[in-house]
Assembly symmetry: C2
Homo-oligomer: 354 residues x 2
Amino acid sequence: MKKHIVMLPGDGIGQEVTKAAKKVLEAVAERYHHTFTFESHEIGGAAIDSQGTPLPEDTVAACKKADAILLGAVGGPQWDHLPGHMRPEKGLLGIRKKMELFANLRPIKGFKQLLHASPLKEEVVSGSDLLIVRELTGGLYFGEPSERRNGGKEVVDTLAYSHSEIVRIVDQAFQSARVRRKHLTSVDKANVLESSRMWREVVEEKSKEYPDVTVEHMLVDAAAMKLITSPSSFDVIVTENMFGDILSDEASVLTGSLGMLPSASIRSDGVGLYEPVHGSAPDIAGQNKANPLAAILSAAMMLKYSFQLEEEAEQVENAVKEVLDARFHTADLAVHDGVEVSGSEMAAKVIEQI
Amino acid sequence: MKKHIVMLPGDGIGQEVTKAAKKVLEAVAERYHHTFTFESHEIGGAAIDSQGTPLPEDTVAACKKADAILLGAVGGPQWDHLPGHMRPEKGLLGIRKKMELFANLRPIKGFKQLLHASPLKEEVVSGSDLLIVRELTGGLYFGEPSERRNGGKEVVDTLAYSHSEIVRIVDQAFQSARVRRKHLTSVDKANVLESSRMWREVVEEKSKEYPDVTVEHMLVDAAAMKLITSPSSFDVIVTENMFGDILSDEASVLTGSLGMLPSASIRSDGVGLYEPVHGSAPDIAGQNKANPLAAILSAAMMLKYSFQLEEEAEQVENAVKEVLDARFHTADLAVHDGVEVSGSEMAAKVIEQI
Ligand SMILES: CC(C)[C@H](C(=O)O)[C@@H](O)C(=O)O
Ligand SMILES: CC(C)[C@H](C(=O)O)[C@@H](O)C(=O)O
């Protein structure tokens, strides 16, 4: 199989973790006789510094021709004072929208070696294995008008969805649930929002096409509670963009291994952008300390979702598990009786297992 | 002091818990020589059943003449099939808006006897004592347009704020912080929303009037994480309506005593509506099992915020602590070596201490 991958290392530790993930992809290509070609482009703060914009044209053009994109992280304090349209995160929002990456998939599953670092009691968190499917290109993030009015006396943002945008994300969630434990929790605020009432109708309608999947509706405030009191009761959660932003970050700290979490942002035809959930961590950038496992697991999601290489993806996931079982860990992870290694050593350990 | 209190028992256990709280208020009146008069009105499902609307005119009229309002809870499965405008929670939203109760205060503080029931590890949750100040009458909850468009092909909700609405809630939060540990966390999504950017500006501007209060800005996704990983790092949190709905419910389960949490929804002149955070719990309604402590602590907030009776409020709070210290508890609370009592017995125990 021949695939072309665009690398967007971005800022801070984004550079080193994407480099590690690329090596893993190269190892997979070698072992399984695929041809992966790579090209690298700027995004975020790095792009602001060198090209004066967080999302240069050539970055967009390259992404449009790619089979998949691997992103590191964007942002850092040196760009925090810049006006809104010149902030690094505009690069991320822009590429999501321009590529129509409407479905953000965030699997959250504890690693037994790391569960002890969870803020939750072990009996509460153990067994948790959930997938949050967040709508990523609609809602409050992109709705118009979003503006001051009346000389600054008023301000509005707009939560807008088209019926078809809701249909496609809900359909994606049902598909995800079907290949997991067949339980879908649709999160909304239907007692307040008209958009949530339409959301609920779409879920009801779609559920007829997936009779094997059980569906439950939950209000967003109730979901924010239940994620903490009973995280293992969820399988797949589907929700709109802003609720998904909040709930997926809430969920990301439950298992005590934020530095291990991958994400995928995909389009209907399978093209996707893969990125670790963690940020750019400027404080440790360039020191070879950063944990590359979230980026490596994001690469595994790429193999699975964009290239349909299920076996290869599993191989990478297993390699990560084996390295953890052997008690190797980076500085961010606390492993009992573990052996601390650098970021590049960690990547090398994973590659050894492939 | 003479005060007139409107009781809105509402649905389910709302009836029994407000009855208990009323008895406590009567005990306070007797001991401190105040005159509290009471009248009771319908709201929510009870009002739908008897008067065909979740918020009858006479309920609104009575509230408008009250010095304070004590609400139980609204809702229940028998009204879940009704159309949006006829749902019990519309009564609650309506009374908040009609009374201009723009500031929702939700204190969250663990009781040491109950902390063991927290989903969080004791070392993570211990020492947590925070106050969430949620804007309650603006934002997505009331913004227009909120409608389907294009024959149902599109839907919009509107997040709208006036500058002055933001100023008054932020000011309230600074005032609350000033009499606590003088630390204010303003939560927004300023990297995406124009309304959040205005919010941030208002906070910056207001902070000049409160030089003794330290201010920090936090993105809502980061706040959703930090509430779990480090709840004790917060003092006062201020945020807009929808973020506040989600974060305050998230925070309410941290200490393991949701059944103990009070809330106040107040107006600039001190008139307020007080209600327990828990719901109507129809499954245990009418069995004298419901824990009245959240309603009783809501009455204590009334004494403090609407009547400025600080000593009396503290007396009620201490009475609750003493009853818990004596290991009395209702069925919902797990207290080591405790004595289980009914709801009315619990109220009587509190009254004994006043
Ligand atoms: C950087 C920010 C705009 C972004 C978002 O809110 O979508 C981030 O929080 C995320 O979840 O990927
Ligand atoms: C019942 C509902 C409309 C309400 C809200 O969202 O404000 C409730 O969740 C609350 O927080 O008091």
